[in-house]
């Protein structure tokens, strides 16, 4: 099999799936929020979101006009052949998907101020690599919208404040963000490591389904506590007031330097777009987040 063509085709399909159809867990969380929302205005917003999601699915069009900056996560089996071609394949896939789906061109040069028109450019699409054992390649696409990205925050809190400091920082981030990140949101919280590591694991935590609490009961409890705290703010759907400010909170952690306590909050809008597939050495493709008809 030609791994380059294979990866390109799968990546285009994943981009299409991600921007046109929400993963099951997110859709269910939105439906639940709609059932349980007590604010009338909040309910109208959740109804509009659900109608929109339904229409996007039916017509195969992007659920939001901001189709984001394109991020990939690749788990590459060390024994798979042609790994050196994957990055090129992902760039080609991004260009093709921009045309075919279509995606909004969102890649702008810092100094040229020019939009490249095809969602590619320096470091973009961004590829996160992890080398694993075996011969399979697991590919995840994560198109990330700008509105929610603008309120992501990193805090280097004092280690003496510990978990209390973490909770305060997460809550303050939600309160400061208000209506801006298109709530109800999903929060990825990364703690420890270093500034970059905390944000990396915070963002990657957004890839975990929100109905799947952290396997560690202590951390699962923290996730629950942060979820309840964020939903006490009353910001509500679209910041128009209501119970549902967040749909879920996913926490991940790394060990830290004795002097540092980095806390990163990656904020995701309700249009939580992600899609994954596994490509086996014999060329079979298994789509992991979306059913293919």
């Amino acid at each position: 099999m030609d791994i380059e063509i294979m990866v390109e085709n799968v990546a285009v399909e994943l981009l299409r799936q991600a921007v046109t159809k929400l993963p099951r867990d997110v859709k269910e969380a939105l439906q639940r929020a709609h059932r349980e929302e007590e604010s009338d205005v909040g309910k109208t917003q959740l109804q509009a979101i659900l109608n929109n999601v339904e229409l996007a699915e039916k017509t195969g069009t992007p659920m939001c006009q901001d189709t984001g900056i394109i991020i990939f996560y690749v788990k590459a089996g060390a024994q798979a052949k042609g790994l050196d071609t994957i990055e090129d394949a992902l760039i080609k896939a991004t260009k093709r998907a921009t045309n075919e789906v279509p995606l909004r061109p969102n890649s702008v040069g810092i100094f040229t101020r020019k939009n490249t028109g095809d969602n590619t450019g320096r470091y973009i699409p961004y590829v996160n690599w992890k080398v694993t054992q075996g011969e399979t390649i697991e590919l995840t696409v994560f198109p990330k919208g700008g509105g929610s990205e603008n309120v992501c925050a990193l805090g280097m809190i004092r280690p003496g404040e510990g978990l209390n400091g973490l909770k305060k920082f997460v809550l303050d981030t939600v309160l400061n963000a208000g209506a801006k990140p298109c709530p109800p949101n999903i929060l990825g919280v990364g703690v420890g490591g270093g500034a970059d590591i905390a944000m990396k694991i915070a963002k990657a935590a957004l890839l975990r389904p929100i109905d799947q609490p952290n396997a560690d009961p202590e951390i699962a409890k923290l996730e629950r506590e942060l979820y309840e705290a964020a939903n006490m703010t009353g910001i509500g759907p679209m910041g128009l007031g209501g119970r549902f400010t967040v749909l879920g909170v996913n926490v991940d952690h790394a060990n830290r330097h004795p002097a540092s306590y980095p806390v990163a909050v990656a904020v995701q809008c309700w249009a939580a777009r992600r899609a994954s597939a596994r490509i086996s050495f014999d060329g079979t493709v298994e789509y992991l987040t979306h059913k293919v008809v």
């Binding site: 109208t44 901001d66 189709t67 061109p105 209390n164 007031g241």
Partner: protein
């Protein structure tokens, strides 16, 4: 939460009747305008240059749509609202100059715009952020595009819309601002939540 259906051209009297939390749907002519379009329009007004379209009684939408051209015909694929606060720089002057009656976007707008809306007679309608397909469905036709040199997202897209909504009136002509009210209430929850989380204050 009263529901109103408005048709362009919308009169000043019609919008002065609306209150925050009302739901409106608009039918008629809607024009997209973001930062650059607002800026250029105000320059045109200052220099007494003729605008490509008379905006009186029309609806302005803060939106950078995905638009597709097929057989020389434009169709809107996705058209959700963009964050409106960026237009706070221009909106009061814009309403004064062009007499638009409904401004649509997401996230709300600030005090300057709220005062402008009270003074010159316009409301802010919040459209659900990201609900781009719902928006596109209510857009029946692209009548024209002006200022395309500003780029696809920033151009003036002149659209024919039918029952575009639901829009929550979030700023009315009486000086009320729903986002401001929610923000104020939200701020008041901070100490209570700190307490629940055992976060020492002071």
């Amino acid at each position: 939460m009263a529901v109103y259906k408005l048709k362009t051209p919308i009169s000043e009297d019609a919008v002065r009747k609306l209150k925050v939390n009302d739901v409106i749907y608009v039918t008629g002519t809607m024009v997209t305008a973001r930062d650059s379009a607002h800026k250029r329009a105000l320059e045109y007004f200052k220099e007494k240059k003729k605008m490509p379209i008379d905006l009186e009684g029309l609806v302005v939408f803060h939106c950078g749509p995905i638009v597709k051209k097929e057989d020389d015909k434009w169709t809107v694929v996705a058209a959700g609202p963009t964050t409106s606060t960026r237009m706070d720089l221009f909106e009061d002057e814009f309403i004064k100059a062009f007499k638009v009656r409904v401004v649509i976007g997401k996230g709300g707008m600030g005090r300057r715009t709220t005062e402008g809306m009270k003074k010159y007679g316009a409301v802010y309608g919040a459209f659900t952020g990201g609900a781009a397909v719902l928006a596109a469905k209510a857009i029946k036709k692209v009548k024209n595009v002006e200022w395309f040199d500003l780029g696809m997202p920033e151009a003036l897209w002149i659209l024919d819309v039918e029952n575009f909504g639901p829009l929550i009136v979030a700023i009315d002509t009486h000086g009320n601002n729903l986002f401001g009210e929610v923000q104020k209430r939200t701020e008041e929850t901070r100490p209570r939540i700190y307490e629940k989380l055992d976060i020492p204050t002071g």
